[in-house]
Symmetry: C2
Subunit: 339 residues, 2 copies
DNA sequence: CTGAAAGCGCTAACAG
DNA sequence: CTGTTAGCGCTTTCAG
C-alpha cells in the first residue's frame, strides 16, 4: 500500500482506451466522446487519478504558478493583500508560490532567479525595489511581472499603487483646514516610491496652502524607528499635527505620544496615517487615514498580470487608484468639513 | 531578445560536452572533472542558463515545494508564522506554495487535492481541520503532512502545538490567585483542538482551586463575534475577569469593555488572552497572555516535515511546546506573584 | 570521468 | 473521435 502516484497510463489500461484519450478527458479544451469520457472518469475515480500538474507544465509551458515576492508581513496591509491576491488568483486557476525577500538588494535578485527556476507564469512583486537588470532578466525569460504597491521609474514595468501623491495632498489639506500650522511628517523608507510620493503630495498640499513643513523625521516603516522618530520630533518645539507615512507607523506614533510623552491625541496632537488597515478602525486608535483600496489594487494587479500571461503582447500598464481620506477621531476635524 | 528559456542541451553544445555532463555539474551529488565543470559553468553563465526545477522534479520525484494550507490571515499569529515558516523552509532549500482555504470542510478537501496535483514534497496545514479521509489520501500519495497549531485525534498525524492545556491552566491559576471568583471564558471556534484544549485546561485549573466558571460565551475566533460575546456576557451579573481563547479576540474584548461598556481594564475586569501576538505588547493593550512560542513551533514543524521527507519511514510525532504566561497590565497581578 | 540512451507523466500534432 | 508518435528538460543507469 501507499506512496504510489497513479498515472494516466494506468487509467488508460483500466478504462481500455489509449493514454492520450485519458489526457483529453482531463484537458479543458479537448474533445472526446461521451462514452470515452464516462469510461475514463470511472477508471480515474476508481484509481484516484489526478493529472500531474508538473508534467503538464513541462509540455504546455504553463505551470499555473505565480511567484509572489514579499518583504515583510509585519505591516498589516500585506497579509491582507496576500490573502486577497491568493484568493483572486486561486479563483482564476493559478497558485501562489511565496518568496520572502529581505530588503537587501542582492537578496532580491537571488530570489527572482529562484522564482524563474520554477517556470512561473508570472511574478507579483509586493513592496520590493527591483534592479532594472532584474526586469530585463524577467523580460528575457518571457515572464511577465507586475509591481504591487510600489512603482518604478522604468516605464516598461507594470505597477499598481494607490494614488499616493493625491493621498498625501489630502492629508495636508485636512490638517491645514483643521487649523494646524506646525505640522510634522514621519517618513517611511526613502527607497520606496510610496514614501516618496506620499511625501511629495503632502508637501505640495502644504505649499499650496502656504504652510511650511515644521519638522521631519524618518521612521523607515519600522515600529521602533517610528517611535524614535517621534521622540526626536517632540523633544523640542513639538508640532501640533503629524502625518505619518503609513498606519503601521502611525499606530506606534500614537502609542508613543500617549504613553511615553503623555500627550493627548487629538487634543494636543493630530495624527493622520496612510493605508487604513484593520487596527486603524479600532476605537482605541480611531485613526484618520488615507485608505488604500486593497480590493481594487488586487483586482487590477491580477487583471494586468493575467492579461499579460494570456496575451503576451499587451504593453505595460501603470495604475494609480485614488483612495479616500477616512476621517476618524485621531485628528481635529475642521469645522464644516464635508465628507 | 525575449521569451527564450535556455536548456542544458544548448549549454552542452556551447561547452562542447554532452548534455548529461551539464546536468552533472548542476546536480549536487554529482561528479565531473574540474575541467568540465569550468567549461560548463562558463557556457552556462554566458547563456544565462539555470536548471528547470520542474523538469528536475519530474525525474527525481522531488519538487522542492511544500504546500501550506492556511485559513485566514486576520489573526496576527498567522502572518507571523507564515513568514517564519517560509523563511525556515527557504533556508533549507524548499519553497512554499500557499493555499487559502476557508473553514468549510468541503473546501479543504478540494484544496488538498490541488496541492497534491503539484507533486509537493510535503504539506503543512495551519489551523485547519482535516477529514481523516484526507490524511489517508496524503498517506496513499506518499506525501507527509504535519499540522501546525492544531492537533487531531488521529494518532498517525504529526502535529505541533503549544501546550494548550497547560496554558489554559496557567491562565486559571493566575486569575484565581489574583482574587477573582467570578470568571468568564470566551471560547474560540469549537471545532478547533486549540480551543478545546485551552478551555479544558482552564476549567481544570479553576476546578483545582475550587472555583466554578461564572459565564461562558463563544466568539469563534472572530472579532465581531467576540464583541457580541462580550456584550452578552456583561449584560447581567458580569464577571470580574475573563479568559479569552486568543489574543485576536482578547483585543476586541478589551475594546468593547472599555469603549462600549465603559469598564476599566484591569480595574473593573481582568483580561487574559492566548498567543502573545505583537499587538498584545503595545502599551494600549498591555495584555497578559499565554505565549505561543512561534519560533520553536516553526522550527519543530519544519524539522518533523523534512525528516519525514528525507527519511520516509519515520513515525508520526506530536509535539506540544510549553509557553509561559506573560504577565502584563491587563489583569490584576496577585500579590507576591513570582514571574 | 564521460557520452549515449532511457525514461519521468503528460500534451499535441499526426494520421486514420 | 481516437490511437500512435514525438517530444518538454532533466536525471540516471549503463557502457565505455
Amino acid at each position: 500500500m501507499g506512496a504510489h502516484k497513479v498515472t494516466s497510463a494506468e487509467v488508460a489500461r483500466l478504462a481500455g482506451v489509449s493514454q492520450s484519450a485519458v489526457s483529453r478527458v482531463f484537458t479543458p479544451g479537448a474533445s472526446a466522446s461521451a462514452k470515452t469520457i464516462e469510461k475514463v472518469r470511472k477508471a480515474a475515480k476508481e484509481l484516484g487519478y489526478r493529472p500531474n500538474v508538473l508534467a503538464r507544465a513541462m509540455v504546455s509551458g504553463k505551470s499555473g504558478i505565480i511567484g509572489l515576492v514579499v518583504a515583510y508581513l509585519n505591516n498589516q496591509f500585506y497579509p491582507e493583500a496576500l490573502e486577497k491576491l491568493s484568493n483572486a488568483l486561486q479563483e482564476r486557476g493559478y497558485h501562489v508560490l511565496v518568496f520572502m525577500a529581505s530588503q537587501q538588494a542582492g537578496n532580491i535578485d537571488k530570489v527572482v532567479d529562484e522564482i524563474l527556476d520554477f517556470q512561473v507564469d508570472g511574478i507579483i512583486a509586493a513592496s520590493v525595489a527591483l534592479s532594472s537588470d532584474l526586469s530585463d532578466r524577467c523580460r528575457a525569460a518571457g515572464v511577465p511581472m507586475v509591481l504591487f504597491n510600489r512603482a518604478q521609474d522604468d516605464v516598461d514595468m507594470s505597477a499598481v499603487t494607490s494614488d499616493n501623491i493625491s493621498g498625501g495632498r489630502k492629508a495636508a489639506e485636512f490638517l491645514v483646514a483643521g487649523g494646524h500650522r506646525k505640522i510634522g511628517y514621519i517618513a517611511g523608507w526613502e527607497g520606496a516610491s510610496t514614501q516618496r510620493d506620499r511625501e511629495a503630495g503632502f508637501l505640495a498640499g502644504l505649499r499650496d496652502k502656504g504652510v511650511e513643513l515644521h519638522a521631519r523625521e524618518v521612521g523607515n516603516f519600522v515600529t521602533e524607528q517610528a517611535q524614535e522618530a517621534t521622540r526626536r520630533m517632540f523633544a523640542s518645539d513639538p508640532p501640533d499635527a503629524v502625518f505619518v507615512a503609513n498606519d503601521h507607523m502611525a499606530i506606534a506614533v500614537m502609542d508613543t505620544l500617549r504613553f511615553e510623552l503623555g500627550l493627548n491625541v487629538p487634543g494636543d496632537v493630530s495624527v493622520v496615517g496612510y493605508d487604513d488597515v484593520a487596527v486603524s478602525s479600532w476605537p482605541t486608535y480611531d485613526l484618520t487615514t488615507v485608505r488604500q483600496p486593497a480590493n481594487r489594487m488586487v483586482a487590477d494587479t491580477v487583471d494586468i498580470l493575467l492579461s499579460k500571461i494570456e496575451n503576451s503582447d499587451v504593453g505595460p500598464r501603470r495604475v494609480e487608484i485614488d483612495g479616500p481620506l477616512i476621517v476618524r477621531g485621531s485628528a481635529r476635524i475642521p469645522e464644516g468639513w464635508k465628507t
